[in-house]
Amino acid sequence: MYLILRNIIRFLVVLLFQVLVMDNVMINGYLIPYIYLLFILLMPFETPVWAQLLSGFLLGMSMDLFTGTAGLHTAATVLAAFVRAHLLKLLAPRDGYEPETFPRIHYYGLLWFLKYTFIIVLIHHLALFYLEVFQLKEFLSTLVRVVASSILSTVTIVLSQYFVFRK
């Protein structure tokens, strides 16, 4: 119960932080750090897949409502949630995740978290940016934006682990 409440609060904090602060932080004209994925990343290991997918759907919908885009963030975030559910199995340590731990640097180390975050962020950004452009005409320039934005988002998310969402 406590866990669910904590996740709901995190959902709201991450969402508001994204639309009110991060959407105004733009680096070099192209890049917005999408920190709202942090919510997807930090959900407990035991979360059932359907709950992960539905949370991704709700989070994406809320982003869409704030930014005035139709279904764009929803599609990308549901994909991110789906990938996460399967990626966790791939990245699991030999004897599985220990109970009472969370997918954080604190428990599984920087390298693990970096791998985990970057893959999900990259897939999310690939979907987001290409769906936004909705054509392959500017394939390369979009790819540059995807990679650059992914690095920026990952760095922001990892840094946030040291400052805000430490435990």
Partner: protein, 272 residues
């Protein structure tokens, strides 16, 4: 039957994933109607309120810059007024003037503004209550900003030049040739002018302004200047226009109410 059930159970998360993605993509496909839907109208009131609360802080930090710009504009307007007063010293002229008033400006504050997306939108703190309606033009003190897309009771959304869906007729000041202004999504500082035929003589720095062919903007609202041009694709120039309006530092705008927009529209519809 049992195998089917087991199959569904085994891949239930995959099915849920596909279902949610189909919903999301159907939103995207109906995207153009989405901006006008009831849900978004309600949402515009809510997010508009949240944004306007937070925006106070952002505005505070640029007060000095903003003051300077307003002072400049003030001086400019005073000069223009002076010229008019010198020209007109009889009451007669005022009645003439009254007849020629077609446009009225509603000042508005920007409460939300996106710049670095492909489909950028601006939210203003004025809506139907203040007389801001769909298809009204929006300008800043520097030049063209965009067109009102939709308004709720006290907020409205604007589709700015820097949105891939934006189209407006614009002309070159020096020779009055008109083309279509649009945006290629690359940089918020530049827009593109298309459909200027190859025989027109152009030079860098020529001013681009609104043509006045639509009922949205009066003629001669400044848009930008020609930054570069090329003749790659056959008969028409690719013209890159440096925009006068700095969308990254935009706080106050004016919405243009055209008193005769309705009249012009009705006439045009009847003739068609």
């Amino acid at each position: 039957m049992r195998t089917l059930l087991r199959f569904i159970q085994k891949y239930s998360s995959l099915f849920l994933f596909l279902l949610l993605e189909i919903i999301a993509i159907s939103f995207m496909i109906r995207g153009s109607h989405y901006q006008h839907s009831k849900l978004v109208g309600l949402n515009r009131q809510v997010t508009g309120y949240i944004y306007s609360r937070v925006d106070g802080a952002r505005e505070y930090f640029s007060l000095r810059e903003e003051n300077l710009r307003l002072a400049e504009e003030n001086a400019d307007l005073r000069n223009k007024l002076d010229r008019i007063v010198q020209k007109t010293d009889s009451a007669l002229v005022f009645s003439e003037l009254h007849d020629s008033i077609r446009y009225f400006f509603v000042p508005a504050r920007i409460v939300h503004n996106s710049v670095y997306k492909q489909y950028n939108y601006i939210t203003l703190d004025k809506g139907k209550k203040q007389g801001v309606f769909r298809d009204m033009g929006v300008i800043s003190d520097r030049g063209l900003v965009g067109i009102v897309l939709e308004s709720s009771a006290s907020f409205s959304t604007v589709i700015p030049v820097i949105n891939r869906d934006f189209r407006l007729s614009a002309k070159i000041q020096t020779n009055d040739y008109a083309g279509i202004l649009h945006w290629d999504g690359s940089s918020p500082r530049y827009a593109m002018l298309a459909e200027i035929p190859f025989h027109v003589e152009l030079s860098k720095g020529d001013t681009i302004m609104t043509s006045g062919f639509s009922s949205i903007f009066p003629e001669g609202i400044r848009i930008g200047r020609i930054e570069s041009f090329s003749l790659e694709k056959g008969n028409f120039y690719d013209i890159r226009v440096e925009l006068f309006t700095d969308f990254q530092h935009l706080f106050h705008v004016n919405v243009i109410r055209n008193y005769r927009q309705e009249e012009q529209r009705n006439l045009e519809n009847r003739t068609r």
